[in-house]
């Protein structure tokens, strides 16, 4: 022991302390170095006194939720980098027209319209829907289209289950029933397991987005179920204690809704909206936007 470098001896002391050895017993290992090592042993004992407790479960949960929301946000931005702002609508539209001219309007697009998740032409179907959503100028028209595409996703999932095809899928719908292992969302049986990411406070009646995979047994293995919220931009047409109307769209208010107290009719606003059923929207928050020129 005595020929070892002092750094090695210190490491032995740290290991011995970690294993619960008595400091006096440890010092007996190094009779010749006692004078030098004893103060260091005391310092190690002090350093160990700062040893922290484990984190609280709630803190872990909070951090996890925050991280997943941000991951989703960045993931959306990544997708937009391709089909979004950096790919201007006009260029996208022209490209699509060229594609139609090349492949024939009734050919590829018609085929893609019938495609299901996992098919080669399915991404084209989503791209066309995305384009149509973007070209819809009115909020109301966009909302109607969004509901139509939501229903299309549900039909696709149902088709895949009927065909017993195993594919990754996503769809949105209302939680009709939630039991410990199986949920029913938009009439589809969804299996939730401990690995399933549940994002947001989800209850029966909530409108959610589901990411998962079809199974041969006829249900969806859920990877993620997320409470769906969306933003509604527009002019505030009406505001009362029960609801507000933004550019013709009625949105209900509940005691949890956070409404900017300065709001007056005619303001340009953005509302973060949660849909609890296909025909009723709830405001989580409504904020006044600066008007043009201000």
């Amino acid at each position: 022991m005595t020929n070892r470098p002092i750094e090695d001896k210190l490491e032995i002391i740290i290991d011995a302390l970690r294993l619960g050895a008595d400091p006096e017993d440890i010092m007996r290992l190094f009779p010749d170095d006692r004078e030098q090592l004893a103060p260091l042993l005391a310092a190690i004992g002090s350093a160990k006194k700062l040893s922290p407790p484990d984190p609280e479960g709630l803190a872990i949960q909070r951090s996890r939720s925050k991280l997943l929301v941000e991951a989703d946000h960045l993931s959306d931005k990544q997708a937009k980098n391709f089909f979004g702002w950096r790919f201007p609508r006009l260029v996208f539209a022209v490209t699509l027209v060229v594609l139609i001219l090349i492949f024939g309007a009734g050919g590829l697009l018609a085929t893609s319209a019938q495609s299901l998740p996992g098919d080669q032409t399915y991404p084209l179907k989503l791209a066309v829907e995305n384009l149509q959503l973007r070209l819809n100028s009115g909020q109301e028209s966009r909302t109607v289209s969004q509901f139509r595409y939501d229903q299309r996703r549900i039909d696709e999932v149902q088709n895949l289950l009927d065909l017993q095809r195993l594919e990754p899928v996503f769809f949105s719908g209302v939680v009709e029933e939630s039991k410990p292992e199986f949920w029913i969302i938009a009439d589809i049986l969804v299996k939730v397991n401990p690995e399933t990411n549940l994002i947001g406070t989800i209850t029966n009646g909530s409108f959610v987005e589901v990411k998962g995979s079809t199974t041969a047994e006829g249900w969806i293995a859920a990877h993620e179920i997320r409470l769906r919220t969306k933003e509604v931009f527009g002019i505030l047409d009406e505001l009362n204690a029960e609801y507000l109307v933004i550019s013709g769209q009625q949105i209900s208010i509940n005691p949890q809704s956070q409404i900017d107290p300065r709001l007056i009719v005619g303001d340009q606003v953005v509302a973060l909206v949660e849909a609890s059923s296909n025909d009723r929207l709830w405001a989580n928050a409504v904020i006044r936007l600066p008007s043009n020129g201000n």
């Binding site: 190690i44 040893s51 991951a71």
Partner: protein, 180 residues
């Protein structure tokens, strides 16, 4: 503290939610314990740990995330954020006794003496270089072995042993100055 289950980096780069969640759940406690050891405050450690994971997302999104070891990257980032934290709060490093957060199961009669001692140890610790604080926090806060610490710091084992020796000797010296 054995290395965790393999993480699919390609899925992580795509910000796949289940992989992001798996990274968070695997490493949260380790990063928190390290941060709590260095900062001494539970709330600040929670905030900083959360920031470390947000930085990871940011880096992944910019294509500059971990190359070899996720754990090494997270701990390195935690170290940098803590160093920044102390730079920003330099003038507030002189702590009050009330700032020291103790576990609640300590006998109330002993709390005052214990708090004084912890406060002084922490004060002595803050006098060390950032690298010395880093190595002690990894060993005694994170509970990492010498080998794991060397891996996280990207140094060889002998270099870590030497650094650790200097850190403990410096801590002893500072404690003597504080009559501990």
């Amino acid at each position: 503290m054995a290395d965790s289950q393999p993480i699919d980096i390609s899925r992580l780069l795509r910000l796949d939610p289940s992989t992001v969640a798996a990274v968070h759940d695997t490493y949260y406690s380790e990063v928190y314990r390290y941060a709590r050891y260095r900062l001494g405050d539970g709330v600040a450690a929670e905030d900083l740990t959360s920031d470390v994971f947000m930085k990871l997302l940011e880096a992944l999104n910019n294509g500059s995330g971990p190359r070899e070891s996720i754990k090494g990257w997270l701990m390195g980032t935690a170290n940098n954020l803590i160093n920044d934290y102390y730079r920003k709060h330099y003038r507030r490093q002189e702590m009050n006794i009330e700032d020291v957060d103790l576990q609640s199961n300590i006998n109330p009669i002993e709390i005052s003496e214990e708090k004084d001692e912890i406060l002084l140890i922490r004060k002595a610790m803050l006098s060390l270089t950032q690298l010395q604080q880093h190595v002690l926090a990894l060993r005694f806060g994170g509970g990492y072995s010498l080998e794991e610490t060397a891996g996280i710091m990207g140094k060889n084992i002998n270099a870590v042993k030497a650094l650790q020796f200097r850190a403990i000797a410096a801590l002893r010296e500072e404690m003597e100055k504080l009559q501990l």
